[in-house]
Assembly symmetry: C2
Homo-oligomer: 432 residues x 2
């Protein structure tokens, strides 16, 4: 009766919440000129080990398929992006601004905010060196979160610069083979006692703490912040050199989004990875690139904890699920007339439902309310007139069946829906 | 560089086509009062063997996960539906009208119209005995296909009755253990020479052919057809007792949709399966049910072969991908002013893009055209006025920067987009 551990069933309410999240992601990404793409859920396992090393396999849903191929359910989208871009980049003008909403899978211990599957918004800009691309991407991250009703006191995007730390390590004469280890120590320093970090960093502790405490930035980060200020987004970002991101392939500006309360995991994270596409395509294609990802699980938790966001979600779920019109069939002799009209109303784009079996009028009105219908139309003794009742105001109007469509089109609460339909009636000219 | 055999990459054009198909499916299902749900991509393997027998495993992407669970990527959604309904049905008023758009996976030989993954629209009505539910479901199937621009000469839904054949087998005194085999012979009879079918059917051939040739129907099917005629949908359906559907669990009206040309696999298929939920839930819950599925691959092929459908698709792809506004930065000194305005325009819901690096004005206008922008706005020497150019008509207007938003809102080609936005400006009252 249960799904597998770490997997979710999406009952209609959950699915409407998921659709709401996806719709906001799509809407905002398109405002920024990003276009959607997607890859397969299943890929060759070595696509992932090539990027992340053999140890990633312990976290994969991987197996041998019936054709003896080593395959894995995607844990992330970036390796697929590199594969697809390497194969097709010549078909597109640069820069590519691409987004996607893949479901990703990891065999991990379940914790708060971490399941074994999640949906992850990905946005990437491929083929652009300019720092303006970094700013564009951070602005997109901010605006995605704003679209859910979050304000500057709900979340913050912390921006850092991987290159700044590489320069630091060079200046300190740290051998290159130790860089990754030290960057990970710095990345984790916020989450552990300073004495512990100091021991790990040794002689690097003093100069590193100086940088971390200054929360100061590089000249590059100052430019990023200034450009975000021009857009009116400065309140949503902070320069924070403590953000390094553990992954080795980041090469420039990196950022992570957090709830201001600091209770949740990161809402989003990403940055510039100029060398990764060349690495993953075995040098076939070399393009500068940057991107970030935002998962649906932590985002959903923050929505649940933030009143303005919760209210927006509630409205969206009702809008997705509610009916426009419920047809009340008071006399079974009128069922055929009602069904002809139901078809005509649905053809015009209205959401219409009715009782599939004979039922008491009172019960039918009750169902109309439960399904969130705005209008109930009663087919009964008054035929060929019908009774149109606006459920919120309880106003009623007796209308000739022939005039009904025009009358409904005049109701402000229903007018938007009818315009949406782009389907001709079933007796359109092409089939008669 | 390639996806696994039978799996698809969705480049932006392909993804827009996929979104178009999903959007039509969602829109029409909601008009019928169906609500969306979903289950996990991965389920215990025995959920599928319980329904389809152990032989299904040869067609599954199945494996042992890291917790020693036997799991499979879903080949279909119905077993998950039975699991979820059995666990949650008490939370919902009957009948449930649920739809879903799962991606499903089968390890099969690739053929035309058959990959190893596809997306499959599913609609099910749970908890309703009435024949009106069967009619409602067939009408939904018709209207889903009509929404893509198909007319009655493009497709037909063939409707049959499994119960009619069961009665026939009873009358002919065929032992119950042979029913499934004979039903499958009848199901396949259209696709093989009659002599071959006759040999297989033996003494049943004569009475069976009589039924198949009559294309006559049961009283039940006459009622279904009459009810579809009331809705104006009779031209899209045919009674055809040759449709039996191979699967053992169908218990009443069954149907399949085909292209009229007869060149493609079935577009959709389903029917009533009143005993399946009880069987799959080990008797925990017993509810009458019916449903059907429509895949995206064959549908996509028919769209490609049908002019009206192809044109609708083309329009939809352009609508999904095209920009509203391209900002041309003619002087780099104006970049900051342009970016402030870009943010304001995006906040109002417009899709806006611009060159991330300095570029020649002519090249920027070229990019505006390529990205399908309706309007280009030039920030240059005329500042604080900007030049607004409608790209289709080549009309130009010099507008004060402060008046620009009002002017754009007055343009018919852009007005719909601005209304869509539901996000306040970044300097809204909550964060300042």
């Amino acid at each position: 009766m249960q799904p597998l551990p770490g997997f979710r069933d999406f009952l209609p309410q959950d699915c409407a919440a998921r659709n709401y999240i996806f719709d906001r992601w799509r809407e905002v990404a398109r405002r920024y000129g990003f276009v959607e793409w997607d890859g397969p859920v299943l890929e060759p396992t070595d696509l992932y080990t090539k990027k992340s090393g053999a140890e990633i396999v312990t976290q994969l849903f991987n197996f041998t398929d019936k054709g003896e191929r080593e395959v894995a359910m995607r844990p992330e989208l970036t390796p697929t992006l590199a594969r697809v871009v390497a194969a097709h980049e010549r078909e597109f003008k640069k820069p590519l601004k691409w987004f996607s909403i893949p479901q990703c899978f990891r065999y991990e211990k379940q914790q708060r905010g971490r399941l074994r599957e999640h949906f992850q918004f990905n946005a990437d800009i491929i083929g652009e060196d300019s720092l303006d691309a970094d700013v564009e991407l951070i602005a997109l991250c901010v605006d995605l979160l704003r679209a859910f009703g979050f304000a500057a006191n709900d979340f913050v995007v912390r921006v850092s610069d991987r290159e700044f730390w590489i320069d630091f390590l060079r200046t300190q004469n740290v051998p290159e083979e130790n860089w990754q280890e030290i960057l990970q120590i710095i990345d984790r320093s916020e989450r552990e006692p300073r004495e512990k970090t100091a021991v790990k960093l040794g002689p690097l502790a003093e100069p590193a703490f100086k940088i971390l405490d200054g929360k100061g930035g590089s000249e590059k980060l100052d430019r990023v912040l200034a450009a975000l200020r021009v857009r009116g987004l400065a309140d949503f970002v902070e320069i924070d050199l403590g953000i390094v991101r553990g992954l080795a392939y980041y090469s420039g500006v990196v950022f992570e989004a957090f709830d201001r309360g600091g209770k949740l995991r990161a809402l989003a994270g990403g940055g510039r990875y100029d060398n990764l596409i060349a690495q993953l395509s075995d040098g076939a294609v070399s393009l500068p690139a940057l991107g970030f990802a935002m998962g649906d699980v932590v985002l959903g938790e923050l929505i649940g904890e933030t009143q303005a966001a919760r209210e927006k979600l509630g409205t969206a779920i009702a809008t997705e699920q509610n009916l426009d019109i419920y047809i009340v069939i008071a006399k079974e002799e009128r069922r055929a007339d009602a069904l002809a009209k139901i078809q005509a109303l649905r053809d015009r784009g209205y959401r219409v439902d009715y009782s599939l079996t004979a039922a008491k009028v009172g019960k039918q009105f009750q169902t109309a309310e439960q399904l969130g219908a705005r209008v109930a139309i009663l087919f009964g003794d008054e035929w060929p007139q019908v009774r149109v009742k606006t459920l919120a105001s309880r106003e009623e109007q007796l209308i000739g069946n022939e005039e009904m469509l025009a009358y409904l089109a005049s109701l402000p609460s229903l007018s938007s829906r009818a315009e949406r339909s782009d389907v001709e009636g079933p007796r359109g000219s092409t089939d008669r």
